[in-house]
């Protein structure tokens, strides 16, 4: 087999047993890999309506068919599971070096099922699979865990781990690599935690075989040149996602004060010329020439001495603008804590914003906030609340449930201030500011994800059908949102870095050439086929949710987004709201779904998903 290693590692934690299975040819051809594989397994193997924190849940870790080859930007890994935060199908993506090493160990996919009675970690060294005791590292932060396990296994090993947040079943606990890249969203860390699985450590000695090395090398040259000559390359190399923070604030995309979108005084803290001052080092993921990762050093203030992976765009928002906080030092320190504890920064920041607004409005009193005064713009409250969430102390016990559940538990009208879709907290992209992007988030099978349909037209400025897309307009937004979602799913069959794929304009044609050169599978030589596979995967994911009665009723934005216009007068997005009814109808029509937001029989048949019809209809 070319490109793929051809093997799934099935790990049963209850029986402490690991077996290998072969990848089925028809699954490869119809779903390609990565996100496609995980969706397929979850459709076929998860019963309906299971408890995400019960032993029946499974977690699928996959890499794409190009992982471990010479191609750039394709070595990421994906975790798929039923989410304890949303109760939906979920996919979460991470970078670093783990993905490539998993491929070198000989596997395309690991499927974890059951539950261990005691804390363990998996050590995968090619065909040797060990279930090792993890008592010593249980309770350790992610970085300490990684250092310890590297000593116990192999200094060259790579791994994914959970921190105390995952052990404490925080609903938005992240899965973290040894190089601090995270599959943050959706609570995959809690799924590992409830299974008593502290880490998966891999070390490999194999390499994927390539169908046509010469063709791969030629296409690689094309890929390198595409990236090298892209105008987006140098700001991204210089500052990573920090290059866009202030720009997105001005554009109205970066929402402030729990999405109230009031003016953020001092937002100039986020200017690139200011953020640049903190950088002491650059780094990258496996097989990436961009190296968008940065290390920040804090030299002043109460957090002086901190040297850590920098806050990405989303985190500058989550611990910054969304909390009215402009103190870069506190944002950086809070980011470090989130990484160490293993927490999704977006959900954590959103939970803190929710709590601050409730306190401001008198819905939560001091007796419920552990005596803490929760104020907008207070830089020092943030690290304290992160700790309490991760360790489920005091108010942290409530916030660790996520804003949706926390609001249900509090009542008193708090639901109005819980900014989520299907339980997943909204990210740093205001749906009112970019309507197709908002539509993608509203209809996403995993809730309000900003990466489920990458906003290549409204934010990256690429033309659609030859014209610039007005982000505030409603025209054709259903079709545009569908396209964004389908093409993102297509690229996630190879688990592409979305920055490489979309910001540097790696076309479907180029992906198709790489895929065919690596695998020799003739269907993959047609870029149009790849797009059909993306649509197929998206409809499969929607069907997994529909099986659990999660349909269009849940394709809903919070009231703040549909009824409260953007207040700020320092942005072109002033006055915008999200016209949900019109946009959703347009989207379902573009999708060929029924009025309940479910794929029709005809659509499933068109996409070759007939077996879903048998089971669902």
């Amino acid at each position: 087999m070319y490109g793929y290693m051809g093997k799934i590692l099935r790990v049963n934690l209850s029986k402490k047993k690991a077996t290998t299975e072969h990848l089925k040819d028809e699954v490869i051809r119809s779903l390609i890999g990565g996100r496609g594989f995980g969706a397929w397994f979850l459709w076929h193997e998860l019963p309906a309506n299971i408890d995400p924190l019960g032993p029946e849940n499974k977690i699928i870790i996959s890499v794409g068919p190009l992982a471990g080859t010479k191609a750039l930007g394709v070595h990421r890994w994906m975790a798929q599971f039923k989410s304890p935060l949303t109760g939906t199908y979920f996919r979460s993506v991470g970078g670093g070096f783990f993905g490539a090493e998993l491929k070198f160990a000989g596997y395309d996919t690991i499927l974890i099922e059951g539950r261990s009675d005691e804390p363990i970690y998996l050590y995968i060294h090619d065909e040797n699979i060990e279930f090792r005791n993890a008592e010593k590292v249980w309770g350790m932060t992610t970085d300490s865990t990684a250092a310890f396990l590297r000593e116990e296994t192999d200094k060259q090993a790579r791994m994914i781990v959970i921190g105390p947040a995952g052990e404490n079943l925080v609903k938005f606990a992240a899965i973290v690599t040894d190089d601090m890249r995270t599959a943050s969203r959706g609570g995959g860390g809690a799924v590992m935690g409830v299974k008593n699985l502290k880490a998966i450590v891999v070390r490999g000695s194999k390499k994927p075989e390539i169908y046509n090395e010469k063709s791969l090398d030629e296409t690689l040259k094309e890929e390198i040149n595409t990236i090298k000559f892209s105008p987006g390359l140098s700001p991204f190399q210089e500052l990573g996602t920090n290059s866009g923070v202030y720009l997105e604030y001005v554009g109205g995309c970066f929402p402030t004060y729990n999405y109230r979108q009031e003016k953020l005084y001092g937002a100039s803290s986020f200017r690139p010329e200011n953020l640049r001052k903190y950088i002491v080092k650059h780094y990258g993921c496996y097989g990436c020439m961009v190296r968008c990762g940065k290390i920040f050093k804090l030299s002043k203030g109460p957090y002086a001495g901190t040297v850590w992976d920098f806050p990405e765009y989303e985190t500058h928002w989550a611990f910054g603008g969304n909390l009215g906080n402009i103190n870069i030092e506190s944002i950086t320190y809070a980011n470090m804590l989130a990484d160490k504890y293993g927490l999704d920064t977006i959900s954590a920041g959103s939970a803190i914003a929710f709590a601050i607004e409730l306190y401001e409005r008198g819905i939560l009193g001091k007796s419920e906030t552990d005596g803490l005064e929760l104020r907008w713009g207070d830089p020092d409250i943030i690290p304290e609340l992160i700790k309490r969430i991760a360790l489920r102390i005091g108010i942290g016990r409530l916030l660790a449930e996520g804003v949706k559940k926390a609001a249900e538990m509090i009542g008193r009208g708090s639901e109005r201030y819980a900014m989520h879709v299907k339980g997943l907290e909204l990210p740093a992209h205001d749906p009112r500011r970019a309507k197709a992007f908002g539509l993608s988030m509203a209809t996403s099978p995993i809730g309000a994800s900003h990466t489920i349909g990458v906003s290549i037209f409204e934010e990256f400025g690429m033309p659609y059908k030859g014209r610039k897309v007005d982000p505030f307009d409603l025209k054709e937004k259903g079709e545009i949102a569908k396209y964004m979602q389908d093409i993102t799913a297509t690229y996630e069959t190879g688990i592409w870095c979305i920055f490489i794929a979309f910001s540097f304009n790696i076309t479907l044609d180029l992906y198709s050439k790489l895929l065919y050169a690596a695998t020799g599978i003739k269907e993959f030589a047609d870029p149009n086929y790849l797009l059909i596979v993306g649509e197929r995967i998206f409809n499969l994911e929607k069907s997994i949710n529909a099986r659990d009665s999660i349909d269009g009723k849940f394709d809903k934005m919070p009231e703040r987004i549909t009824k409260e216009p953007i207040l700020r007068d320092d942005t072109p997005a002033r006055g915008q709201i999200f016209e949900e009814d019109i946009l959703i109808k347009d989207y379902y029509k573009a999708r060929g779904w029924n009025e309940k937001g479910i794929p029709t029989r005809e659509k499933l048949r068109e996409l070759g998903l007939e077996d879903l019809i048998m089971k669902r209809h």
Partner: protein
């Protein structure tokens, strides 16, 4: 007439923000502004690189929007596409 210009992102091959008032003849277009900025200030904006342009908070379509006529005190934002998220 005078217009306010704000340039953001890697639009000028550096990541800093540039903001200034700029004098133009009455009736000048956006294209005139870009040309004169290059001539007088050495600030070259390459429209082939997909900049996002707002005039008074309205998005401008390219290339036809280059003919948009400017007025006194107009506020023009020109930014490179944002790579954010993550």
């Amino acid at each position: 007439m005078k217009v306010f210009v704000r340039l953001m992102g890697k639009i000028l091959k550096d990541s800093n923000i540039h903001e200034f008032w700029f004098s133009l003849n009455d009736g000048a277009s956006l294209a005139d502004l870009l040309k004169i900025m290059e001539e007088k200030k050495g600030l070259k904006i390459d429209v082939e690189e997909n900049p996002i342009i707002f005039i008074n908070n309205l998005l401008i379509n390219l290339p036809e929007g280059l003919n948009a006529q400017l007025k006194d005190l107009d506020k023009i934002i020109i930014m490179s596409p944002a790579i954010a998220g993550g």
